[in-house]
Symmetry: D2
Subunit: 307 residues, 4 copies
């Protein structure tokens, strides 16, 4: 049975994603995102699942930073998107007006700001380290403490859903990534994630990087800058692009970026969750690259480049 | 006395920044970043101070989102950078080995991860809503609870600095912005912050936007994408560029971006904290724009464009 | 009756174009292209007609050079394309095998190279200053001299068309331009011709110039470099672009090019001979420019730019 | 002794260039530029010399067209620049005021237009097929006929230089190219000439092509469009770029252009006449390309791209 490390505890959206990643797997909860990634890197588990990005709150910085700045060796080999439906979870029998404290993971609190200010304007909001921990604490309390979390947490901790779908914005989803020690093979509907490091101040480098992809007909699905933990104003850029690392156009773009950037790290190539085949135009296909290489070799095969 | 709203409570890095913004001002603490921004927008106070970006943790999402998606009317008119030196604050007489719980604002906890795991590996880390609140709770506790925060908080809440400079990375600074209801005048060493909204999926739009600035010799000092709170994959882009909104090259670039993007919001033009004069080359100066306009008008003044 | 100067003599393709330019005009033949252009500049005639470009031989250098380097004041206000059908013109009664000399304007000789080498391989080819002059000389000769030229020249000089359509390539056309002292008004299906001068060695300037047009959605219909008569390797660039000089996108592109180039000369805006309406996309229309200007003025109207 | 075909006859600037190409060579005059190129292609001679471009009159269309549209197999392997000093050549004893006719090759006449109009305003200008032929005819005439040509022609045909340096513009030079059946090896200060064919109407293709070179740090020393002899408005582009066809950056640029254009023909790589070493920056060197290829291979060596 495949062992799947995930950011625990059980009863969270992440545990839902881990089940999706390996329905018959053996789930191994870890205390931190970094612990999950380390377990994959070190070969303790073949697969790991961590949150990457939420449609409202944005990227999960710890995941980005660990993949970008930690030791190499964990590659994204799949992405899974889970709709985030928040619920107010409370003890059986307690009423809404009894609730004076609402606990949850800070992102979850943020996602329900408006509902809370409309329905529980005087409740104290307390940060918890996860939605599951908040639910556990609500279950251990006296009925005045409620938690915000997934419906599955109510079941796990013996709570009731006092109010369902209390999140402020519909369409809230979280994107999780499945990590392994090796890259995934091409499926034909792939995405490649990289992080590019900017050494010194290079004002034109970002433009060049976008140009390298654009000129080869490669669409970018995400671009995000992050500080490199050195000083305000130094950045690296996370880029998700259409295509697989072994597509000729992607390979040439990556090599070009590598020549110009301080460093490039390939985070992985993997099947897109949306299944979109964002393939190349005729001039950017593997066949076109092969044909151009033949043409060049034919013409220049006998020309010495010794100077 | 100028009233300055800031993200309270007192005794935080933000309060330090507020003092810097108006040394003789009347400080008005607010409960949330959004409350500070609203107070400026509504004309309750002439100035507001909120955190914008930390060199380690990245942008402060609530600030970005409120400036980008909230009602218009609050402009950045200055930026202030404050070095973030974290300290372990504890009750007088308590020893490091007595401490079983460490509380702080989650970003502060994150910035001291390594120190905590080296020196207090078994301590429970608890999220607080601010460093000041954590200090207040440490002061109210029994000596087993410590807080991470600025030295000024120790003084304010009667704590001692048990360990100084416990942050993992040197060079940690936070950039605060000073808000007002109107834009600041040009100083000659300015920066302009905008947010650009991408309507539908426009793969080439980001490249075009960077091109609009690059072609006019305008350096970008920051670029960051953020979800627009609609669905995973829809973004807006925050851009900081050299120059003032009234510089001819900046004005033309902004109008061009406005023509192509779904929307553009100018967050403000203000003097750069680093004082760098990143002025235009001869062909991009106001004088060159004026000269080109004269040339064009002279040549075409008598040509009708009626069709 | 409108007086129309043209590159004489009568009986040439240019005279055909002059008739097309002003069917009821008073044709005024001039000895050289420069004389035609000078007559327009000096106000001697309201219109002038000169050849600009042949589909096989390329541009007419004298026309380009005079418009680019001569005094300003003559603008292209229309273009006319004439199919070039070459004929071997000989004296009545002479046979093909009698012909030992073929005279014509050098471009005309070049355009019939293959036919001449197939049918008159031993004939001496002699350069004449125009097809009409060649025809006149053939008419004055003893039957061993033939001319290459338009059918109209046979009629005018009493020759016979010994062989029709002897040009090597079908689709041979010449583009003539009609010059006047002022620019033409916008028709909605216009073209603008400019010449851009490169001062010092500026490797990226051409790319920038093309970018200035491309970013504004302006298609180029022609681009041609020419030496500036100074030293091998110094060039100017002739550009024809879609749109009228008073279109907002064209106006802004021209001003931008003017800021970066050593100099720019507008040769004229005029209705396209092909009638194609190559209009702007929504973001590049005059309305979009006006809307962006309003937006900018509204936002920044009260911001001083005094430093 | 190396046989060198050149555009004859003897006594022209081209013959000067042929001597420079192979000082001890056996000069073989040919009647036309096309004959020279064909002799090289067919292996009749190892070297051929033809004019390519004049600093005043621009490119020599026949040379461009034959290299671009004729059969492949003749490569430029060197370039030679010759200063063009024009002289009025007349019979011994004749005075300037006796001269009523001036003959020369049309380009030569054009280059002396101003001098002729100042000093011989009433002289008839007659086109000759070469400066040498004009000199021969002047020598055969009665003293009223002069020729414009190089000093060497005076010597060869027994004429006197009646007026020296009668060309209108100083700095007039002609660039000749030396052709052979194979490409030249890299010298480190090279230039590469190509011609790119545009199939259908592709407004952005030229910009893309310039971008392909610019992104790889390759400077262009010449760019010129020419009709493809099909219909007005269809063009091909002649490009000279810094670097040798075997430089990694040039090779990749050529393959990229090949993928997007209708066709590309490499006209040759050869040592620059000006000796300028326009080498790559660190990121565009052969070493950087090799390093990037290693990095990519190391990372992706075990990833299958089978779908």
């Amino acid at each position: 049975m495949t062992r799947v490390a995930f950011l625990g505890p059980d009863g969270t959206f992440t545990s839902q994603a881990a089940v999706r990643a390996a329905p018959d797997g053996d789930l191994v909860p870890k205390a931190t995102i970094s612990d999950v990634i380390a377990a994959v890197r070190d070969g303790d588990v073949p697969l790991g699942v961590v949150p990457m990005e939420n449609s409202i709150e944005g990227s999960v910085n710890v995941t980005l930073d660990d993949l970008a700045f930690g030791p190499a060796g964990a590659y994204i080999r799949a992405e899974i998107t889970i709709p985030i439906a928040m619920n107010l979870l409370a003890k059986t029998g307690s009423a809404l007006e009894d609730i004076t404290t609402v606990r949850s993971q800070p992102h979850a609190l943020a996602q329900c700001r408006r509902w809370l200010s409309d329905h529980l304007p005087t409740a104290e909001l307390q940060a918890a380290t996860s939605t599951a921990e908040a639910a556990r604490e609500a279950a251990a309390g006296d009925g005045s403490v409620a938690a915000l979390g997934p419906a599955v947490a109510a079941e796990r901790f013996g709570l009731e859903v006092r109010a369902a779908d209390v999140h402020d914005h519909d369409g809230n989803t979280t994107r999780f990534v499945v990590l392994s020690a090796s890259m995934a093979a091409r499926t034909g509907a792939d995405k490649t994630s990289i992080v590019v490091f900017f050494g010194e101040d290079r004002p034109g480098l970002l433009l060049r990087i976008l140009d390298e992809f654009a000129l080869r007909g490669i669409n970018l699905t995400k671009i995000e800058s992050r500080p490199t933990k050195q000083a305000l104003g130094e950045y690296c850029i996370f880029i998700d692009c259409a295509g697989h690392v072994t597509d000729a156009r992607v390979a040439e773009a990556l090599r070009s970026v590598h020549r110009h950037a301080a460093d490039v790290r390939i985070l992985g190539s993997y099947a897109r969750a949306d299944g979109v085949v964002d393939g190349p135009g005729p001039a950017d296909s593997d066949a076109a690259y092969a044909e151009a290489a033949d043409w060049y070799a034919r013409l220049t095969g006998d020309v010495s480049n010794r100077i």
